[in-house]
Symmetry: C2
Subunit: 263 residues, 2 copies
Amino acid sequence: MRNILLTIAYDGTNYCGWQIQPNGMTIEEKLQMAFRRMDGSTVKVIGSGRTDARVHAEGQRANVKLTSTVPTNRIPYALNANLPSDIVVKAAMEVPMDFHARYSALGKTYRYRLYIGKFRDPIERNHHYHISEPLDISKLKEALELFKGTHDFKGFMAAGSSVKTTVRTIEKIEVQSEDLNTLDIYISANGFLYNMVRIIIGTVVDVGKGKITIKQVEEALKNQNRSSAGHTAPPQGLFLEEVRYKLNDCKNKETLDTSGELY
Amino acid sequence: MRNILLTIAYDGTNYCGWQIQPNGMTIEEKLQMAFRRMDGSTVKVIGSGRTDARVHAEGQRANVKLTSTVPTNRIPYALNANLPSDIVVKAAMEVPMDFHARYSALGKTYRYRLYIGKFRDPIERNHHYHISEPLDISKLKEALELFKGTHDFKGFMAAGSSVKTTVRTIEKIEVQSEDLNTLDIYISANGFLYNMVRIIIGTVVDVGKGKITIKQVEEALKNQNRSSAGHTAPPQGLFLEEVRYKLNDCKNKETLDTSGELY
């Protein structure tokens, strides 16, 4: 038996999120089905974490304990032939048997894409959050700075989730612009609470619109009250870009392409 | 009665193309419905030309003879409120009564996007042509050069279309790369035959793959035989970027945004 770590990209538009659930199709279920179709393998797919309905991934990670004899470097091809066009396995590598895609993760990077324009963009509509009002980008960036470092993000978590601690460390925030209308916000942290990125983004968008002041964001971070933060940005702008692990002595590293490279 | 010229963008993925037809939903029909919902207006939507199923547009143009009293600069907003999210009217301007979106057109620009990568890209899958084999880009560009200028493009037209002449002039071909995997090919001409761009692209892709030689492309342009050209590239990589008119003295020019600017 091998423990195989997969790097997966998907368009979340037509799914009820990552995790298997009774009421709709999910990415996890499609992967399970692909293993079954590949050679009858029945596996439990352990994702690095859930993504919500309509959220996308460029570098989701999952591990599976596999008895199949398919060579590790052929697994992406074998699975992709059995996956729909909106899911792709970009890489597979053998990892130690005690490796766990969620518990072994050191951190993640999410990207959130804003599209600022008078009219909606029909072609990219499922891959960004359309803002039709003017946005003060420098204020938005100023607000983003406040989230860097270690904070109790309790006020930036959706209600109903149970976690041991709501303290997380944001290691890096980067803002990139592909063109005048697009703003890509990359947030890297050692972990994320439920809806944390979307509430941070909603909050800084509210700051950019002048609905919330920088001072109110500082207070929201201090008082840990969800109602002090801004709105929850919609799911379709969110991309899970990368999940980081420490993996020095793994076999089959050559099966990873550059976009799926581990470090 | 006014004659109104619209600039329209759309994602063609979920449509049976531009032109109204009995067996499925089209962009033209959605626009007609939007006028009816706006204020009961019944209009004939005259497009600059058809686009096929799954083909997209950033700058399709259409004119309508309108008795409605909605101010010209409010028309985009009034229509967009009544259009699905994958169609948007970006601009409206009043043009002379004898203006005709098809007959008055001086030329068009199409963009065709290639995605070169070992694995498919699930997020942009409906907006490019995925090439998984290695492609000799310099050969592809060399082949593209041959199409510049005035030629009889009879060999680069899908069967079954009836036109007076198959001679067209390609005024400009530009190749741009957003990143290592993406190739955007812009082709501007005074007019295009049915499937002309897709057959040109299929042919230069075949050259890039080494399936067709440069010499064979030269011959295909000379002998005007469809079977000498390459394959027809799939629809989802094609974008109608722009339709050009001579419009010096039109009212309401200020309603055009930069992306819809006329010249």
